[in-house]
Amino acid sequence: MHELSIAMGIVDAALDEAKRRNLHVSAVHLRLGALSGVVKDALLFSYEVACQDTALAGSRLIVEDVPVVVFCPHCQQDRALVSVQSFVCPECSTPTMDVRQGKELEVFALEVDD
């Protein structure tokens, strides 16, 4: 389980941005790709622990799941994968490894109290 170290990375990034912009953060919004290798539930649990004794204590982590999108060489279009166990185009079943989205692990916004 590496979610605690990931959670600490999220807290560090958020604290750094909050300090630089002088914000009081009530929630951290994260984009989490289905291929990031991170388990959401374990991350949510770890986040609380990672926030303790920091300016983010008591804040929430809001996770936006990002599905895997591949480019299908046959359809010549981006397609959302149905399952990470099967890297084929959902329309025409052509296998593809051209991943366009789904590896994200990104703090993309901070929710602030004014």
Binding site: M1, H2, S5, I6, G9, I10, A13, A14, D16, E17, R21, L23, S26, A27, H29, L30, L35, S36, G37, V38, V39, V84, Q85, S86, F87, V88, P95, T96, M97, L105, E106, V107, F108, A109, L110, E111, V112, D113, D114
Partner: protein, 226 residues
Amino acid sequence: MSEPRLVEVRRNVLKQNDVIARALRDRFRSAGVFVVSLVSSPGSGKTMFLEKTLSMLQPRYRVAALVGDLATENDALRLARSNAPVRQITTGTVCHLEAAMVEKALQDWNLNELDFLFIENVGNLVCPSSYDLGENLRLVLMSVTEGEDKPLKYPTIFNSADVAVVTKNELSEAVEFNWEAAHQSIQSVRPGMKTFRLSAKTGQGMQEYLEFLGQQLTEQQTVAQK
């Protein structure tokens, strides 16, 4: 009540790791060393496989290895029998290697004196998938005793790898291993992945895999010279 205000920041959580990994990759390229990382579950035979790889490559190439483990230096001691330079990275409670650990372990190494560097990750099919180590090739190892559907159970790590090796082939009959099913699960999570079937113990199938590594090294050196 007013709507909460959102401030966009866009910060990649693994940026620090990625920056170090990129620097490592540049260092490997300029030194002309081809770097292979190994991932697998605990007990799949990674150390035996690596031991054979090191000793079989050695007559022709200059090889070295870094091995990651939570505790003990047993693997480094075993691998040292091949007479290749080996260094253990003991991670403590950390379940995977990160680029910074590799950077630290390589600090005083002269990479120009090497053709191949192998990095054995901690035995774990989940956590290592998130961390780029700057390697040129990520090799995922599974043994026939683990079952044909291992790739379907751990799609992320198989998807992040470049090559699969199915080892302990000498046991495939005893465990009724279905090669076709294994091949299908690998191709399902990672279409087009090159796969080798071999036995590190008997040496069967090792030659083809070692020739492949030799080709990869030549390609990298050709690109570096351009």
